[in-house]
């Protein structure tokens, strides 16, 4: 094989080692990216669930204000609370993938309907100027439902936090692994590259050294020195030419002795 091909193959081998190292590092970096995405998704779920709770409280406050002669502000709070719950519900529907959490959300939606139902009943009762006792009783019902809604939402918050913590832990583990793999891969790449370079240098210089030794012997008069180079590259060609030259010396020497 020609020297240029030997060098090219060594180069490819070294490149392959570095590409493999890069691939290993990249795989771990991709894992870190995946864990970080999970963290971000759980932060979003956590925010939506908290907003759900906030929406319920807004609504409850609005109803209380509405009943206690602050209808304008009460209506505004009711509207904001309803809107906040609606937005959070839609946000959660888009973010959740875990079947257990989706089941929790379905339960929360059911509770939301009941909160809205209680809220509407109170508003209607207040508009009809029903007895204070009935309204207070309905307010207590609303409070109970809002508490139930908040409790269920807090289940989602807790689960989201658990998932977030586990994703952070995973990300940390991947980070540690990535650091280790990067160190090992860099070290291995350097060692393998040095090894390949050393082997290639030896393969190329050994026949040259042998040829030089023979040339030195011949130049000092030892025409029986043997050329022990059998490589198939340009150095092998050079060795063949050199053998031919030594043969010529031997023939000339024999012919001159005959005369």
């Amino acid at each position: 094989m020609k020297i240029k091909y030997k060098l090219f193959i060594s180069y490819l081998l070294i490149v392959a080692v570095f590409v493999l190292a890069g691939f290993l590092i990249n795989t771990n970096v991709a894992n870190i990216g995946g864990a970080n995405k999970d963290v971000a998704a759980n932060i979003i779920i956590d925010n939506h669930a908290k907003n759900y709770e906030k929406g319920g409280s807004y609504l409850q406050t609005g109803v209380y204000l509405y009943v206690h002669d602050n209808k304008e502000m009460g209506r505004q709070h009711i509207s904001e609370g309803t809107e906040l719950m609606r937005t959070s519900r839609n946000g959660l529907k888009n973010s959740l993938t875990d079947p257990a959490m989706l089941a929790d959300l379905a339960e929360i939606e059911r509770l939301e309907d009941r909160v809205l139902e209680a809220s509407n009943n109170i508003v209607k009762a207040a508009d009809k100027k029903e007895s204070a006792a009935l309204i207070e009783q309905n307010l207590a019902t609303l409070q109970g439902r809002v508490v139930a809604l908040n409790l269920k939402s807090s289940v989602l918050v807790d689960k989201a936090r658990e998932n977030m913590e586990s994703s952070i832990e995973r990300s940390k583990t991947y980070g540690d692994t990535a650091i280790k793999i990067t160190s090992y891969a860099s070290f291995a790449s350097v060692v393998i590259s040095l090894l390949v370079a050393f082997v290639m240098a030896s393969l190329l210089t050994k026949p040259l050294r042998l040829l030089t030794e023979t040339a030195n012997k011949v130049s000092k008069g030892d025409i029986h020195a043997k050329v022990e180079v059998s490589s198939k590259d340009e150095i092998g060609d050079l060795a063949e030419s050199f053998k031919r030259m030594i043969n010529a010396f031997k023939i000339m020497d024999a012919l001159s002795r005959e005369k």
Binding site: N247, A248, F249
Partner: protein
């Protein structure tokens, strides 16, 4: 290319620049001919003497190789 040039080329593959002198020596000493005057009829004898000469100086391997190559010229 004449026959003697072809033989010299064959010998030069292993004997290098000494091929011409070696060939001339074999022709004159053993075939009693000038190198330019050899014919295909001389090839058997020439191959034998070249074989003997090369064998003494360079060994069996090269001698056999030279012998075969010279004999192969008969069929060309």
């Amino acid at each position: 290319m004449t026959l003697n040039e072809t033989v010299i080329n064959i010998l030069a593959e292993d004997l290098g620049p000494s091929a011409k002198s070696f060939f001339a020596r074999q022709c004159k000493a053993h075939l009693n001919k000038e190198p330019e005057s050899i014919t295909k009829q001389d090839l058997d004898e020439l191959a034998k003497w070249c074989h003997n000469g090369v064998k003494l100086i360079l060994g069996d391997d090269i001698a056999d190789k030279v012998n075969k190559k010279i004999l192969s010229l008969k069929s060309q």
